[in-house]
């Protein structure tokens, strides 16, 4: 019955817009008849669930994971006590990143880490010093994963890489994490944050000057500097406490420094070595040895006269090196002279001398002077006894410097493989060469039998 009961027009059309087809009057819009509600499974299947990313709804409701992520980002910002504009920046960055095609379908774990990366990126853009390690420990995420996600984020959203925060900026907020205020710990251990920051900042600057900072994780160095600074502020009472004890006293969280617990210890050792080298130059030490364990007493004086001590130490080291080079050259010359004389004598007498190796008579380069252990000295002497007669010009440039990146001091010599025959790539390949790469029939048989035996067992 095609006529509409309301207006009587015959213009009745089938409307398929909704899940039920309806017959509607095109003139007045009233519904003439509608289908039955679906009762069979077949009809139900028409409306299947549409996944979030494929939905074309214009104003999408935020998906639950996005909401959770935003809550997490806000929580992180609050823990780090960021300003409200930075918090809103981080939140909007997270929303942008979340809906970016390279992040919309990643695992939930990565999405969690993405929140942390957005916070880190916002902090960097506002020059707020936060280390990646700190955010890692808050999220309990793997550092590698964080690194990967951070780099993907920078690439995907084309964020301008901001300057890497300098260590001294990070130091202040880091020091406030140590609970050493006068009321919280016994007076022997207590230190106001300002004093701690001041002393640690000087140590961090020194560490940066002597190559202990470049290329390394910042947090272990900060921990080492704060520890040595704390010891040096009341050396008599605090010198006997180890780094672990110090962390307990200050109630540091367990993974404050990332996974490796030994790195801060190594940094403490390196820092103390440097302080010993400088301490040696103090006029009232008169060139006497300075022990790493007791150097805490001298730290204040060393830091006061940092620059001049550095210059002095380097100058005296250079003089030592030059003197040794001169001695080595002289003794080599003497040996060469004596060996050429003996060679001539041998030739005159008509006998064949064995190959002359003046190198073996070169004395080991350095007897460490005044009893202190100079790592360069032992490293250098090892090198000269290993190699055979390096002429003076070929010494590693590192020997001339007192303060070096630690890995440059113990340089591994490249295994000098004899240079391969000059190839052009187009040479003939003989059959015999190839035969060596193919098993003979007998070998194949024995191999197959052996495999069978192995699988049977």
């Amino acid at each position: 019955m095609p006529s509409c009961p309301q207006c009587g027009s015959a213009n009745v059309v089938d409307d398929d817009l909704y899940s039920q087809t309806q017959r509607v009057c095109a003139d007045c819009g009233s519904i003439v008849s509608e289908g039955l509600f679906t009762t069979t499974l077949n009809d139900e299947k028409q409306s299947s669930a549409v996944p979030y990313y494929a939905s074309t709804q214009v104003t999408k409701k935020p998906c639950p994971n996005l909401i959770k992520g935003l809550v997490r980002v806000r929580a992180l910002c609050r823990i780090l006590r960021l300003r409200s504009d930075m918090e809103s920046g981080a939140v909007s960055l997270y929303e942008r990143a979340y809906s970016h095609p390279s992040f919309i379908q990643v695992s939930l774990q990565k999405k969690e880490v993405l929140g942390g990366c957005c916070v880190l990126s916002t902090c960097r853009q506002h020059n707020w010093p936060v280390a990646m390690c700190t955010i890692n420990s808050l999220l309990e995420a793997e550092p590698m994963l964080m690194g990967v996600v951070y780099q993907d984020l920078v690439k995907a959203l084309d964020l301008q890489p901001p300057p890497t925060a300098s260590l001294t900026d990070m130091l202040e907020s880091y020091c406030y994490g140590y609970k050493l205020a006068p009321g919280e710990v016994p007076d022997v251990f207590a230190e106001t944050p300002e004093q701690l920051v001041q002393r640690s900042a000087a140590l961090v600057e020194l560490a940066a000057d002597v190559w202990l900072v470049t290329g390394r994780h910042p947090l272990p160095i900060l921990m080492a500097c704060v520890y040595v600074a704390w010891q040096s502020l009341k050396p008599k009472d605090r010198m006997k406490h180890s780094l672990q004890k110090f962390c307990q006293i200050a109630r540091l969280p367990k993974d404050a420094c990332g996974a490796c617990k030994e790195t801060p210890l190594r940094r403490v050792r390196e820092l103390r070595d440097v302080l010993c080298k400088l301490g040696r130059e103090l006029p009232w030490m008169r060139g006497g040895a300075v022990e790493p364990k007791t150097v805490a007493t001298l730290v204040e004086d060393i830091l006061k006269h940092q620059k001049s001590l550095l210059l002095k130490a380097m100058r005296s080291y250079e003089e030592e090196v030059e003197q040794e080079v001169r001695e080595a050259a002289e003794s080599r010359q003497d040996d060469v002279l004596s060996s050429t004389e003996s060679l001539l004598a041998g030739q005159l007498s008509g006998r064949d001398q064995g190959p002359v190796t003046p190198a073996q008579d070169v004395p080991p380069a350095r007897q460490p002077k005044s009893g202190e252990s100079m790592l360069e000295a032992s490293g250098g002497s090892n090198k000269t006894t290993e190699e055979s007669a390096p002429p003076a010009g070929e010494e590693h440039w590192g020997r001339r410097h007192l303060f070096l990146p630690p890995c440059a001091r113990n340089v591994k010599r490249r295994r000098e493989e004899s240079p391969g025959p000059h190839v052009t790539g187009e040479e003939e390949i003989s059959d015999s060469e190839i035969e060596s790469y193919i098993r003979s029939a007998e070998e194949i048989r024995s191999y197959v039998e052996f495999q069978k035996k192995m699988t049977e067992n």
Partner: protein, 186 residues
């Protein structure tokens, strides 16, 4: 005067990666059985074959694509690849050596001075990037040469590029930038 004019730098090529095709299907099980110095990895679907001279490791896939790594020069890579193809021919496959291409060259170079990485990154932003918490070296990507240079504070640099020529040009290009950022204590 360009500082590089006075200094002769030793650029040591440590690895050349190349690919070629055999234009025929390869039965990996046969290669695993009949070849010497082979490792068959059925879970990944490839065979690793190691040649002694030149020292090269090849990953052989059943589609006939082969990747060779470990050569120390482009010519060596080609010789090794041809040797490998001859090997497979002898085993019994109808191999045709085709589409040989050097894909990647890795070289190292040691500069005689230390480098302040933070300064270097600041002077060359955004081409250079430095994340001490992720990697101890600063990365410098040269888009025109499609090369990447990793700069360590000790003065060692590693360069990767599509061929030896681009690697050499990359070192030449980056040397003056590094020379500026070298620093010894005053």
């Amino acid at each position: 005067m360009e500082p590089s004019n006075d200094v002769a730098l030793d650029i040591i090529v440590t690895n050349v990666v190349s690919v070629f095709r055999t234009r025929c299907h390869l039965n990996l099980r046969t290669i695993g059985l009949e070849g010497n110095n082979v490792i068959y990895k059925p879970e990944v679907g490839k065979v690793l074959m190691k040649l002694r001279k030149p020292r090269i490791t090849a990953s052989i896939w059943s589609s006939g694509k082969i990747i060779c790594t470990g050569a120390t020069s482009e010519d060596e890579a080609k010789l090794g690849a041809r040797r490998l193809a001859r090997c497979l021919q002898k085993i019994g496959f109808k191999v045709r050596f085709s589409d040989f291409k050097v894909v990647n060259v890795l070289a190292v170079c040691s500069l005689p001075f230390q480098i302040r990485l933070i300064e270097f990154t600041k002077n060359n932003r955004p081409i250079a990037s430095y994340e001490p918490e992720l990697h101890p070296a600063a990365t410098y990507r040269i888009k025109t040469l499609r090369s990447t240079v990793q700069v360590f504070s000790t003065g060692s640099i590693t360069v990767t590029g599509p061929n030896v020529q681009s690697v050499a040009s990359a070192v030449e290009q980056i040397y003056p930038l590094l020379f500026e950022c070298q620093k010894t204590l005053v």
